[in-house]
Structures are given as C-alpha cells and as structure tokens.
C-alpha cells in the first residue's frame, strides 16, 4: 500500500501512527539532502497532530496522532494525512544552501582503541597510515541518528575503506568507538553491542542526557575527523566537557 506525490516521493504507512516519506532507496548525499529539506519544510509548516519527524538516509518518518487525523466518512487517518502531504509537498521544498555546522572530532586511530584497523588496511590493500589519512581526510555529513541515542550514521566514507560488518557482533563496543560498517562510518555514543569494524576512538562524549543539547551531532551536521595520539586522547578524555 503506497501512494506517491507529484514530486515522486513515495508515501508508505508503517502501522497506525507512522507515515514514511521515501525519497530514494540508496545511501547518497542527494537523496539525504532531500530528506532533510522536507523535514525542515514540515517543521516550518507546523502540521498539526504531528508528534515527531525522524529523518534517515532516504526516508523521513512522520509520527502522527491517528485520532487527530481521522478522516471524514470513515476515511482512514493515514490516507487523510497522506492526501494533505501530497498537497504540502507538491512544490519541492528548497534544499538548505547555508553550510551546516562543522564539528571537529578527534580520533585516536588503531591500537587498543581501534582493534580492527589492521584488518581494514589489509581488506583495503592499503597501509595503516593510508587508512588513517583517508578516513581522517574525509568530509562527512550526519545523514541520520539511530540504532542508539546519539549514534551518527555518516555519509562520505572513502569507497576504498568499505568493509563488511563482523558476522558475529561483539557484545561490547566501547563508547566513542569510530567504526566502519559496509559503506557507512559512525561513532558508538555509549558502550553497546555492535558488529562494525573498529578503527579508532574519540574521547568526546557523543551523548549525555543531562546536557541541554544531549547529542553532540545533529542530522545535517558536517564532521571532520582529526587524528590524535594516545596521550592527547587521555588529556582530552580527562578535560572537563
């Protein structure tokens, strides 16, 4: 059960309270930019009965109150909301032109902080130094946060560094671990189970529910990794936030 808008966005319900707007099916900057533009537009429109907007790589989820959107003559809420969205999204929202925030993320690559770095180098047929140079030289953008609070999925990984996940996920990955999972790179915000290849670790605290802004990174932010040594890792880890 899917509908489409005039601008080619697929509208698909997921249960009684979630509507997915799908802008594509891949992991690419152009599709993700359309997702964020639509999210910004819908926030601006302030649609009533909307509980949350959740952007992902290619899909924007609208969490809505089905009671609020109950249609006339027994029309199901999702069809009523989808019809309204078809009108709202008939003109494609303008994509953000202003440069987003740029966040500097120091990373101690390899060693105990990145136990899969050597394996990634072997897989890529590169030296460890080349992997670090390519990973820390990239221009990344936060496509979405998910999996766990504050976990950023970053666009912009050098294709040479792609590597499949571990077949058997580890039960514990340290908070701050910088990792590669397929074509994606990301940072574990807390100690979590995980199957990605661990190449380094940042001393920054990515998520803290007590902070006014609990997540260090927000969807759309740009990220630059900066290689640091173990001594600086310790120094930054002990520095007050």
């Amino acid at each position: 059960m899917r509908l489409a808008t005039a601008t080619g966005i697929e509208i698909e319900p997921l249960g009684e309270n979630l509507l997915l707007l799908r802008f594509g099916t891949g992991i690419d900057r152009a599709t993700n930019a359309r997702v964020h533009a639509a999210a910004a537009w819908l926030r601006e429109v302030e649609m009533p009965g909307l509980l949350d907007l959740i952007p992902t790589y290619a899909t924007l989820a609208l969490h809505y109150d089905a009671t609020f959107w109950a249609g006339r003559d027994g029309e199901p809420s999702w069809r009523h909301l989808a019809g309204t969205l078809q009108a709202v999204l008939a003109t494609p929202p303008r994509e953000a032109t202003a440069a987003g925030r740029v966040i500097d993320v120091p990373v101690c690559y390899g060693g105990e902080h990145g136990i899969d770095l050597a394996a990634v180098a072997t897989h890529a047929a590169l030296t460890i130094e080349e992997v670090v140079a390519r990973h820390s030289g990239g221009d990344y953008q936060v496509a979405m946060l998910g999996f766990a609070p504050g976990f950023p999925y970053l666009l912009g990984l050098d294709p040479a560094l792609r590597m499949p996940r571990h077949a058997q996920p580890r039960l514990r990955v340290a908070a701050g671990s910088v990792a590669i999972g397929g074509a994606q790179t990301g940072i574990y915000p807390a100690e979590l189970p995980g199957g990605w290849q661990l190449i380094g670790r940042t001393p920054l605290r990515l998520f803290d529910p007590a902070r006014a802004e609990p997540s260090l990174l927000l969807p759309g932010d740009r990220v630059r990794f900066r290689a640091i040594d173990a001594a600086e890792f310790v120094r930054l880890e002990q520095a007050p936030a």
């Binding site: 997915l20 959740i54 809420s77 609070p149």
Partner: protein
Amino acid sequence: MSLNVLKPGLLTMLQDRGRFGLGALGIGCAGPMDATAHRLANALVGNDEDAPALEITLVGPRLRFDADTTIALTGAPFDATLDGHAAPMWQPLAIAAGSVLDCGRAQRGARMSLALAGGLRCRRVLGSCASDLNAGLGSALAQGDTLLFVARRTPAPRAVRWSLDPRPWFDADPERPLRLIRGHHHAALDAASQAALYRARFRVAADSNRVGFRLDGARLALAQPLEPVSEPVARGTLQLPPGGQPIALMAEHPVTGGYPRIGQIAGIDLDRLAQRRPGDALRFVEIDLDEAQTRYLAREHELARLQAAIAARLP
C-alpha cells in the same frame, strides 16, 4: 510523602506515556508495554493518562506507603495483597499510612500497572519519566528506593463497590491470533515463508524483553538476500534478521532498523502481545491497514468514553 521499596520484584519501573519528539536524535518513545493498562490505572485514581505509574513484570514488588493515598492496579492479574488481604484490581483502592502492598506474582499474563493518585514524582530525563533501559535512560526499582508522591488533598473514598470489567482491555490468551499487516518486504519472502507467516505457530523466545520479542518456531527466508538501508521502525514492526527468526519490536525498540520488515502488528493487538510470556504461543492472522486503523480509532474512542465515565464516578 513516600513509598518505600521493600522488595523491587523482577523488573519494576516508572513509565509515563513515553518520550516523544526526539526520534531525530535516535531516542525512542519507550513507555509502558501495555499502554491501555497504564492509561486506565491513571484514570481510576483521577490522574492524567500520561502521569508516571509503575510497570510491574511477572514478579511484583513489595511496597510500604508512609501516607494515606489511593492506588489502582490494572493489566495482568497478580495475586497482590494489601496488609495480608487480597488487593482488588481495576478499581480505586484506598491505602492507609503504614500499609504494605505485596504485589505477588502474575497469575496470567506478564505486566501490571500501578498508578497512585496525584502521580508518582520522578526526575524527568529528556522531558519524560519513561524508563528506557536499552537506551540507558532511567532504571528499574531497587530495594531501598524511595519514591515520592503528592499527598491526597481530598478525603479517602469509601470502599468503592464497582470495578472495571477487564475483559475488553486485558487478554493474555496465547491461542487468540494477533492481527498482522503485511510489511514492506513481505513480498520478498520466499513462497513457503509468505504462507508460513500466517499459518505457523510461533513461540515467544526466552530472550525476549522490552526491546523486542524474538519468535521461535518456523524459520522464515527471503527469496533473495536483501540488505535494506536503515529506515524508521515502529512498535509492532516484525523484522527478519538473516537467521530467519522474526523479531517483533516492542516499547524500547531502536528508532531505526536495517532488517527487512515483513509485517506490522496491528496497534489494537500490541497490548495483548505485551502480556505474552516467554514460551507462550503466538499466531498471526492478516488484516489490512485501513481496517486496523479504523479499529484502532474505534478502540481509542471506547477508551476515551470509559475514561470520562470513570472520571464522573470519582469524588
């Protein structure tokens, strides 16, 4: 005024309706597994339906109250006792200062809600009292904990002579199928698995929890391997990891998921699923979303009417 936790029970935690509006940060809603039990417990003590209440799992806590108050118990039937006498459920229950409530064990089903007039005080994290252990927000009750509540301003109600009929709102019968909407990737299942999804008898696996229920039984397979891009998921989403054992996402599910979505359990049946125990049987019957949503709204309407009727009977 406070409530002392003499024994915490197996898994007792504060919940409000949930933590909304933070999905973009990867923060899910959490909230009670049996949302209807939570809302009706609050209604029975005159609270807003969103007020913090306790979710009690399988083995209940023992609690001492240091002030007069009114509570209500809803959801799965537990053999709860108040100062040694059976504590009735689904009605307002007056508590005298010094009383001890022993919640006992679930006789059927898995989860009971305990609401307290005026609501339990809690420290809000990111705008909500909902415990989300998977996300590291909030925690389960521990022995010796003290929960604060607001003292009752109105006089204690006389013993009420009425209680709600739990039947429309509580159902843990494992033989009754759950209604399942076809998921985005249903057509990607191989033919045998498409049929098995609605014919097989599954069991709730032992390692099921508030994040999700893993289903033992028929292994399902895709016609072709598929690795979809991570997309938002919902409570009730039925995912299929590569092992072929479906997972039904529950209250503490992550906001996004990258496994194929083969189904979506109808909202009207999520409370029923929440009351299944590990080992319980589970079957699905197909429903389409239009009907599921129509029934969902009808149920919300009935619930709102009941809440209003309860409010009219309270002092």
